[in-house]
Amino acid sequence: MNRERPAPDASTGTRPPAPLSDERAAQARFVITFAVIAVLGSLAYYYPYPADSTAGAWMASYLQAYVRCAGVVLARLDPSVVVSGLEVHGRFPFRVTRDCDGMQINILFAAAVLGFPASWARRLAGLAGGLVVLASLNLVRLCSLYFVGVYWPGAFDFAHRELWPVLLVLAAFGTFATCAGWLRRDAAVSG
């Protein structure tokens, strides 16, 4: 079935609103693409790669880079902080594991952006920008959790398991909404 698309408005360069069935189809495509990318991304991330495999080595070095970044920031705020492997030593020593990097949120954000109907160049640019924002926020989370552990150890579990996940999810929604608004402009102009 081949349906004609409405022609762009000559004065604004934008297309008139799509018919309801087209919009439903676009929404369904978005939901399905989002779900497929999110599930495949999660499976790829959580797969128990052997430590001596390429993926395992890449995963370890990625986490180490994360810990080193957190260590650099923390060492400026607390000179007693020293990073060793995946562990941060100081007044509140902790170990960064695979679940501490906020990757689940990154995967969901990536799935939403990649599934959004827009040009690939814009999607990739939006994805890169959004991931930088979310990764930076996760670094703030790691650093803040260190100080929560130092000054309010009783609140650590609440901050770690409830407060920061809510903030990260909210940030991901906000980043996606901003990104989608930008992608939508592109879709409206290019069709």
């Binding site: 999660s42 695979r98 679940d99 689940q104 770690h160 809510v166 999810v169 989608a180 608004g181 939508r184």
Partner: protein, 225 residues
């Protein structure tokens, strides 16, 4: 794919955040009450359930004769043949309360359209129930596959996925209910008009006309200022 404007999103986010703060505050007595409700519901579902010759039983610490912090309930796995029992604590807050609170906060932040609330609530409760059952089932599966019981084998990959998706990742227990609510709105939005009309009484014409008049006045004001 339509994107709501920034003001609408900001208001929804603020409403959701306020609801999350209220719902996640550890009010006195809430942990024990929710733990008791959780244990009673789980016991109702798991009553007489046996996996690989192991009987499952969930009860409150008080019923088990233990003293535990609020929100914790006791899971007892009993080998039906030998009678050997293994006990462990389950966190009802992480397993069920937080996802429920996030789902309720999302429902308050992004409410369904008038005339579709019953249908939306039914679909939402069904989806959330399925998600919570999966999470609780995954926890029980991990306990059954543990070295002390070994009534079930998940394999390394299965165990890692179950741990990561349902238990270790706190972000998932927040993101999943929020996404489930959006999925609920999407699914209900796909329901054909004629089914919606039978599912819930349509809006009264007077209320609808008053809203149209308000909307028209708002548009006129927007154009002149």
């Amino acid at each position: 794919v339509r994107v709501p404007n920034r003001r609408v999103l900001l208001l929804a986010a603020l409403r959701g955040l306020a609801l999350v703060v209220v719902l996640l505050t550890p009010w006195p007595g809430l942990g024990r009450t929710f733990g008791a409700v959780f244990a009673a519901t789980a016991d109702l579902v798991l009553h007489c359930t046996s996996v690989g010759g192991v009987a499952l039983d969930i009860e409150t610490p008080r019923a088990a004769g233990l003293t535990l912090p609020p929100w914790l309930v006791v899971l007892t796995l009993t080998n039906v043949k030998t009678g050997v029992a293994t006990r462990s604590a389950l966190n009802a807050r992480a397993l069920a309360y937080v996802p429920l609170a996030i789902f309720a906060a999302m429902a308050g932040a992004v409410p369904p359209r008038r005339g579709m609330r019953t249908l939306t609530a039914a679909v939402g409760v069904a989806l959330l129930g399925a998600y919570l059952s999966l999470g609780i089932g995954a926890t029980l599966a991990l306990q059954l596959a543990g070295p002390r019981v070994q009534a079930l084998s998940l394999g390394t990959f299965g165990q890692r996925i179950v741990e990561a998706v349902f238990l270790a990742s706190a972000e998932t227990s927040v993101a999943a209910p929020a996404l489930l609510w959006l999925l609920t709105l999407y699914v209900v939005g796909m329901v054909p008009e004629r089914w919606r009309a039978t599912a819930e009484r349509p809006e009264r014409p007077a209320a609808s006309a008053a809203r149209s008049a308000r909307s028209a006045r708002g548009k006129t004001r927007g154009r002149t200022t």
